[in-house]
């Protein structure tokens, strides 16, 4: 690991100023991904600016029942919050389906959103990788890609985004507040993550030095009927092959409204907007759920090793929606 300087930030503005001024600087939250990547030599910062102690670090509900989460809230605290579990069960379930108790205690919510892909080639500095070392190539297409993306990929990169929380927040139309040297701006989670295109080294639209300060989840009349389901190679402590975050509002047997996002299938949380549109106003039947997600997945461009994700995603989405519809009967 390369030697580095360390600064403990006292406020967001000075943290942003420090990192913005130094291309070699990184923000440090819980460190569960960054420190690991530093051990692997994937990340080689010259300066760490520790933001884990910054305020606001709390979870609160706004007057209109929106949810406001400080970026330094630890994953375990958000998952265990009784009101979050009652009003946004998909959030708690997504967090609890990821990592281990030890990691959730350390990892921050902001850091969770900005964690890097677990693509094996990205994490191995002896291998080419366009995301880690632009222009070196992507061995994953012809190599080990069972875990990798089927939607939104490019010739340069087929990595998946690993966060479960980000999938749930995308389904819930969350926004992040981002502090930069020029002030605060708001970014919808659906627009925070970039598709790789020809620049897979840029995961998000954030500029170097911009810091996520807070996440806002708008009020929802039906997020109480939401769920997260994650399918993986072992029962626990593994990244998703496919995951689904869904919220469903059914009345008189018809879909009034629906929110649907997929994880493990794309370089960013995949909001299934066309499936949502196809379902609104339609009878909440298993056949309609399958039709809607099948149409969404027509855009998939799987490789031989991950073609199984197409039927898997279809089946998991249909099952989650059936279960949510059943629960409202």
């Amino acid at each position: 690991m390369r030697p580095f300087r360390y600064e403990r930030a006292t406020d967001a503005a000075s943290a942003v100023a420090l990192v913005t001024a130094d291309p070699d600087a990184r923000f440090l939250g819980g460190g569960t991904n960054l420190v690991d990547l530093m051990k692997l030599d994937v990340e080689r910062p010259g300066l760490l600016v520790d933001v884990s102690g910054l305020e606001p670090a709390g979870i609160e509900f706004t007057a209109d029942s929106g949810l406001r989460i400080g970026a330094q809230v630890r994953n375990s605290d958000l998952a265990a919050d009784p009101l979050v579990r009652e009003r946004f069960p998909v959030l708690s379930q997504a967090l609890l389906s990821g990592a281990s108790g030890q990691l959730r205690n350390a990892a921050t919510v902001g850091g969770n959103l900005l964690q890097r892909t677990r693509c094996l080639y990205f994490q191995d500095v002896t291998k080419p990788c366009n995301k880690r070392a632009p222009g070196t190539g992507c061995p994953a297409r012809a190599g080990e890609h069972r875990d990798l993306a089927i939607l939104g990929t490019s010739d340069a990169c087929i990595a998946t985004h690993p966060s479960d929380l980000a999938v749930a927040l995308t389904a819930l139309d969350a926004r992040v507040s981002v502090v930069g040297v020029d002030g605060v701006r708001t970014v919808r989670l659906a627009e925070l993550y970039r598709l790789p295109g020809a620049e897979p080294e840029r995961d998000t639209v954030l500029q170097h030095g911009e810091l996520i300060e807070r996440i806002d989840v708008p009020p929802s009349s039906f997020a109480t009927r939401s769920a997260y389901r994650k399918v993986r190679d072992r029962a626990s402590f593994a990244f998703a092959l496919v995951s689904v975050a869904a919220a469903l509002d059914v009345a008189d047997g018809a879909v009034q409204d629906v929110r649907l996002a997929l994880g493990g299938v794309a370089p960013r949380p995949w909001r299934a907007g066309s499936a949502e549109a196809a379902l609104r106003g339609r009878p909440a039947t298993a056949a309609n759920f399958v039709d809607a997600i099948s149409a969404e997945l027509e855009a998939a461009a799987p490789l031989p090793g991950n073609a199984f994700k197409v039927p898997l995603a279809r089946n998991v989405v249909a099952r989650v929606l059936e279960d949510l519809a059943e629960a409202t009967r």
Binding site: D50, S76, A80, N105, A106
Partner: protein, 178 residues
């Protein structure tokens, strides 16, 4: 030359320490290499095996991923700080009683993790296997819950069966049953 080391003040098992460390030093290496507390083990060194689990201000964390400089001001508890004199911590005693180990390398991490896990249970934290009914506390702790909640601690000898037994026994005593 900008400094790449720091003075860290940290409490370990009730004792205050002030140590100058290279910023790259993890809490795990601070414990083992600077303070001579080798009970905490280095397994994978990547947060995957849990052998390095310690309690940080009462919460279980992977000490291999926690930079010492970032943990300045915290109170750490390791396996060396669990017993009271000759009297083992109840979780240590349960591991002995249930033969919940073979080679023992993962055991300090298992025990520290389990102590915090049981505290999370007493605070009614849910887990990924908790069903639609809310998790209310030790009374809802079953083998599936224990296995899920201990997912961050691997045992290559495969002592899991007896580890689950040991922790279920503690769970029973927490709800006042024999």
């Amino acid at each position: 030359m900008p400094r790449t080391d720091s003075v860290v003040r940290i409490e370990v098992n009730g004792a205050d320490h002030e140590v100058t460390v290279d910023n790259r030093t993890t809490v795990l290496d601070l414990l083992r290499e600077h303070l001579g507390l080798t009970g905490t083990k280095k397994g994978c060194d990547h947060g995957q095996c849990g052998a390095c689990t310690v309690l940080v201000d009462g919460r279980r964390m992977n000490s291999c991923l926690l930079l010492a400089v970032s943990a300045g001001g915290a109170a750490i508890r390791t396996v060396e700080g669990l017993a009271t004199g000759e009297e083992l911590h109840p979780v240590q005693q349960a591991f002995v009683d249930c033969d919940a180990l073979q080679c023992g390398y993962c055991t300090p991490g298992q025990i520290c993790s389990a102590i915090a896990m049981l505290d999370e249970v007493s605070h009614a934290w849910p887990s990924a296997v908790t069903g639609a009914a809310p998790f209310t506390g030790p009374g809802d702790l079953d083998a599936d819950e224990v296995r899920e909640r201990m997912n961050g601690n691997l045992c290559r000898c495969g002592a899991y069966v007896n580890i689950v037994d040991a922790l279920l026994g503690i769970g029973l005593s927490m709800r006042g049953e024999p």
